[in-house]
């Protein structure tokens, strides 16, 4: 089936004074309507260039990009602008107008974007009043209604990205391109933005393309993924398939790196494991004994314990080890184990649903 986005043999070479940079080489992709399609790769792999080729902000050196069966290279400048209104984009650094408040930012594509131009209509087919009304609805969707009059500098990163998403949705796009949209955000905020994107995909059927260098993002929301390495397409397919049977070296590397990211997904799994369990956190400092405490404790009590997390942190210049253990269900053994650890000079505290 022909997808909403079809990329055929796309290459892009940047000609610079020093050298020609082959940013993309022979990329072919097919993205279906309603997909959440991840494009993952290391920094400099060519992801941003690829996504910019999808709305022709960057013109490919060779190859074609078809959106809904229409080859973008055949469009006039004007038609292309009208097309772009249907392909919204959000960015790592949000790219909001800093001198305009939230509501005016969201009105921008409605008043000044390429909407309405497509059918020979004039720009600004929407009145200012209607645009504001629509903007208010969008603010509702992204949960930012009370910030309508705020300026971007008064918002947190996550809030700015929500405004950017509202702005992107304003012109009823069919496709939403996200270039590292969560890379500047902390794990919790990333999580909430990803959930919002998922909701948008589900509720409005908008096809989403997500550019990222984090495997955890792909695992969290993508249905399909393409792995880009040094300007080439290493592998593409369903996320579940690639996770289970990565074929290429690049895919394997990214998956391993993803596991090591220790970020949200791991944290989530950890939280699940901790549910209904007695968990304790112990902290080793430099003057803790060199005795293998945990191993000895397991031998002594003859009961397995589950290490949920182990980490060394540098606190004020001193290396401190931290461990989160899930203890056996027997309350008596739990108490004995805690006493055992305290005896050996370790700080022990009970945790439930710990937050980093």
């Amino acid at each position: 089936m022909a997808g909403i986005i079809e990329v055929h043999h796309l290459s892009k070479t940047f000609v610079t004074r020093d050298a020609d940079v082959e940013a993309l080489q022979d990329i072919s992709l097919s993205i279906q309507t309603g997909d959440i399609y991840g494009i993952i790769g290391m920094s400099g792999a060519g992801k941003s260039t690829l996504v910019r080729c999808l709305n022709f902000l960057e013109r490919p050196t060779s190859g074609t990009v078809e959106i809904e069966g229409k080859d973008l290279s055949t469009l006039s400048e004007k038609e292309l602008r009208a097309r772009r209104a249907e392909i919204a984009m959000i960015f790592q650094h949000f790219n909001l107008l800093m001198q305009k408040n939230v509501i005016d930012n969201i009105c921008f594509p409605l008043l000044y974007g390429g909407v309405g131009k497509k059918d020979g209509g004039k720009r600004g087919t929407m009145s200012k009043k209607d645009a504001r009304k629509r903007a208010a609805e969008l603010l509702e969707i992204v949960g930012m209604s009370e910030k309508a009059k705020a300026y971007p500098s008064q918002l947190s990163g996550g809030q700015k990205q929500r405004v950017a998403i509202a702005r992107a949705l304003a012109a009823n796009p069919k496709i939403l391109l996200c270039d590292e949209a969560t890379s500047a955000l902390d794990p919790q905020t990333t999580q909430s933005i990803l959930q919002l994107l998922k909701q948008i995909n589900r509720d409005y059927g908008i096809t989403i393309v997500i550019i990222t260098h984090e495997m955890s993002v792909v695992r969290e929301i993508c249905s399909h993924v393409a792995i880009i390495s040094e300007g080439r397409l290493a592998e593409q397919g369903r996320v579940t398939d690639i996770f289970e049977h990565p074929r290429t070296k690049e895919a394997k590397e990214l998956i391993v790196k993803g596991e090591g990211e220790g970020s949200r997904t791991l944290e989530n799994r950890q939280r699940d494991l901790m549910k209904g369990k007695c968990c304790i956190r112990i902290v080793f400092s430099v003057n803790s004994s060199f005795e293998p405490v945990i191993a000895n404790m397991v031998l002594r009590f003859g009961q397995p314990i589950n290490i949920l997390r182990a980490d060394t942190k540098n606190v004020e210049g001193i290396a401190r080890g931290e461990m989160i253990l899930s203890l056996p269900d027997d309350v008596r053994i739990q108490e004995d184990m805690k006493a055992y650890l305290v005896e050996r000079g370790l700080a022990v505290e009970e945790v439930d649903g710990y937050v980093d």
Partner: protein, 220 residues
């Protein structure tokens, strides 16, 4: 002895200086803004790169800016005469002042517009905004603080140039300072004229800065 005629003369000088400065700044911006926009937009990293247009404007700006103002004043006298009808006096000074200010203002506008975050421009492009829309709705809006700071600098600079015009009988406070201080050694009159010039610059500076800060929505 300070006489009421002198006070009147100072008052008129101040008005003449203000007239020259404000009018030249206005005309300077009428020419300089389009020039600055063209420079910023046609630059190789601009939104509509055009090497030929950029080069031509670049050369014009550099040539005019490298001619000392006094020489420029004399060089363009025929043009001044053509426009104003005579080549001396307060109104006549506006012409060379405008010619000198325009490329300088164009450069300031160019640099203000180039400060605008490229990401914001890219966002507008991704929404299908046209080049003209981006200039009016993104570049000029986002750069307005920096442009206002530029206006303040321009006013101060043009005021300084207008004082130089005193040498060729251009009128204004500079003219008074020249006539009395330099030719007649009445240094108290010169001093008053200079103090008035300094006060004018201060007023422009304070107003301009206050306005640019007030209009800036970035920090709060």
């Amino acid at each position: 002895m300070w006489t009421s005629e002198m006070t009147l003369m100072m008052w008129e000088g101040t008005l003449e200086t203000l007239f020259m400065t404000l009018l030249s700044t206005l005309f300077g911006y009428l020419l300089g803004v389009p020039m600055g926009i063209a420079l910023a937009v046609t630059d190789k990293n601009g939104i509509r790169p055009n090497a030929a247009v950029y080069k031509i404007l670049d050369v014009i700006a550099n040539i005019v800016r490298s001619i000392p103002f006094l020489i420029l004043l004399i060089l363009i006298m025929p043009l001044t005469k053509l426009i104003v009808g005579r080549s001396y006096g307060t109104a006549a000074t506006v012409v060379p002042l405008t010619v000198a200010a325009a490329p300088f203002i164009g450069r300031m506008i160019e640099s203000s517009l180039k400060e605008v975050d490229h990401g914001v421009i890219e966002a507008a492009q991704s929404m299908g905004a046209s080049t003209m829309t981006i200039i009016v709705r993104v570049l000029l809006v986002e750069a307005r603080t920096s442009i206002l700071v530029g206006v303040t600098i321009a006013l101060g600079t043009i005021l300084g140039y207008s004082a130089m015009a005193g040498i060729v009988g251009g009128g204004g406070l500079g003219d008074i300072a020249m006539r009395y201080g330099y030719y007649r050694y009445e240094s108290d009159i010169m001093l008053v004229a200079v103090v008035l010039l300094v006060i004018l610059v201060q007023i422009f500076q304070t107003l301009g800065m206050r306005m640019s800060v007030k209009l800036d929505r970035r920090k709060r």
